[in-house]
């Protein structure tokens, strides 16, 4: 089957196929090029090589169960996808989330945002030849993921941000871990600035390459760091503040020329701002510390507690295993909204009371669980790549009638063909790297 490029190509030009299995870590995009020597005359971008049927699958899962699919959309910043989906459902149901849970959500979002930008720039630099930057960024990312893993249990695909709040209270040692992560990341950012900002080779490959004008960026629907690199200061956190962003102090860095270097620099500066936000969140969380979550050593083992609970509620508290700690009755008011039909019961009640057990099971059973009112909603958050929006149509049952994701990098990659036309073959790599295409988000 001939592609559009093959049909339109001049007979004397060279047709080259890049991808879909490509060394650049993005891996799932196919760019067909019509070349005259090294110069690109025309190109065609083919996507869909990671189309996993997210939207159709979500129509068959309950609102709670499909949370895991949202993690795997923009997989470098998974908690932000969770957040976007969950806030869309909360808007539909009219739930109010307690302040501490909101602060935790901001903390997790910003940790995810920093790891997103670190990974994006690591890949961009590595593909341009700067392998050291990749190693440094991955090192910093490990410290950030340590913080996330301590609290949520998973490094990446966490499903931590739940409808009505967050899954569990933060780990007792989170403040030190956050401080360490911020310190290490700042060191790495300083090193990377030193390695790349005035590096002649990097500048030659990125300065004034693939320049996007403001009008074109808006016409293409660009949002996020790519739009801000052209000079337009649009950020969903400032334009439509959600969670605590209207009360926190941060700036939105803006570029000038809209070339690859500006996209790189905007991401670097945004990481600084995100680290500032993380520090502010940790300060807020430490001020309003909740009930202690240190494990009770003299508690009952869960099997023993269940056995005793058949007769009556046990007098001693149950000692939850480490992966269930943080979700007890004592912290429930801080991490979850007061909405019994929408949130899980506290874990110690699940093990020791009949109502807790029934509520827990009903939450997951098909036909029960969360049933938002009929209607539709669109809610957007600032993802790593831009405006990440969820459009949910609910028909009153426990499964969404339609769930659509507004993927920020879809619009960014739509402009790729225009950006590389007339440039050299080697310019594709930093251009594509600076766009931060994430296959899970692009193809859903």
């Amino acid at each position: 089957m001939t592609t559009r490029l093959e049909r339109q190509a001049r007979p004397e030009s060279l047709l080259l196929n890049m991808g879909p299995s490509h060394p650049a870590m993005h891996g799932t995009i196919r760019i067909m090029l019509e070349l005259d020597g090294e110069r690109i005359l025309n190109s065609e971008v083919e996507v869909g090589y990671l189309h996993r049927g997210f939207e159709k699958t979500c129509e068959n899962k309950t609102y709670f169960n499909l949370l895991i699919y949202t993690d795997r959309l923009n997989y470098v910043s998974p908690l932000i996808n969770n957040l976007g989906y969950v806030m869309a459902v909360e808007k539909l149901c009219g739930l109010r989330v307690p302040e501490r849970a909101q602060t935790i959500r901001v903390l997790m979002s910003e940790l995810s945002r920093v790891s997103d930008h670190l990974t994006a720039l690591a890949a961009m630099a590595m593909e341009s030849g700067a392998f050291t930057v990749f190693l440094y960024n991955m090192k910093a990312r490990e410290f950030l993921w340590d913080v996330i893993e301590q609290t949520t249990g998973a490094r990446m695909t966490t499903s931590y941000i739940r409808i009505g709040g967050v899954r569990a209270e933060l780990h007792p040692g989170y403040a030190d871990a956050c401080r360490r992560a911020v310190k290490e990341t700042r060191k790495v950012l300083k090193d990377v600035h030193g390695l790349l900002d005035k590096n002649k080779i990097f500048l030659d490959r990125t300065r004034d390459i693939a320049v996007m004008s403001r009008e074109d960026a808006v016409a293409y629907g660009w949002t996020g760091p790519c739009l801000r690199s052209t000079g337009i200061p649009y950020d969903v956190r400032k334009a439509r503040p959600y969670l605590l962003y209207d009360r926190l102090d941060f700036e939105v860095p803006v570029g000038e020329r809209g070339d690859n270097f500006d996209r790189y620099l905007v991401r670097m500066k945004e990481m600084d701002q995100s680290l500032r936000l993380i520090e502010q969140c940790v300060a807020l969380l430490e001020k309003t510390s909740s009930a202690p979550t240190a494990p009770t050593t003299e508690g009952l083992a869960p099997a023993e507690a269940i056995r005793l609970a058949r007769r009556q509620k046990p007098l001693r508290p149950v000692a939850l295993s480490p992966n269930l700690q943080g979700a007890e009755r004592a912290v429930q008011a801080d991490i979850y909204a007061q909405a019994p039909g929408y949130v899980l019961p506290p874990k110690d009640e699940t093990y020791t009371t009949m109502e807790g057990l029934i509520n827990h099971f009903q939450y997951f059973m098909k036909g029960h669980g969360i049933r938002p009112p009929k209607g539709e909603v669109y809610f957007s958050v600032e993802g790593g790549n831009g405006e990440l929006g969820y459009y949910i149509v609910s028909d009153g049952t426990d499964r969404p009638y339609r769930l659509h994701l507004r993927a920020p990098c879809f619009h960014v990659v739509a402009a790729l063909e225009d950006l590389i036309r007339g440039r050299l073959l080697a310019d594709i790599i930093p251009t594509f790297g600076s766009m931060n295409m994430i296959g899970g988000e692009l193809d859903r």
Partner: protein, 158 residues
Amino acid sequence: MSGHFITTRFNAALGWARKFSLFHYPYVTACCGMEYMSAACAHFDIDRFGAGWTRFSPRQSDLIMVVGTIPQKLAPVLQTVYDQMTEPKWVIAFGACTLSGGIYDNYAVVQGIDQIIPVDIYIPGCPPRPEMVLDGLLKLQEKIQKSEPDWRWKKKKS
């Protein structure tokens, strides 16, 4: 009978050389790629096991790590890449999506890459921790050590 001692010693030496000099081709598609990047970098280094050199061409590699979901659209590409590799070649299926389609049981995803290519090591997880990746790699190295090369002159008793 006497020839067997030499060939087993030679097989052992060959297995040793092969297992500690794996050139892998990371066929990275999705989220598992992030854990692959972590496993390959400083904290959980795969270079200490001899498998650090990523060859970005199937023709230069002997291990293909299929990392991340393989949708139906990508299946012929995986087949082509696998066919381009020269013998001896091994396949690691990395992540739940490559084992069985993972959480995606729908029209778009291949339910396990062993429906396309034969697989040596399966690493479960969504995504697997880097320690699990290293464990899988070590198991592959054991397998390579024990495997017998296919000598054409050796008559196989069927």
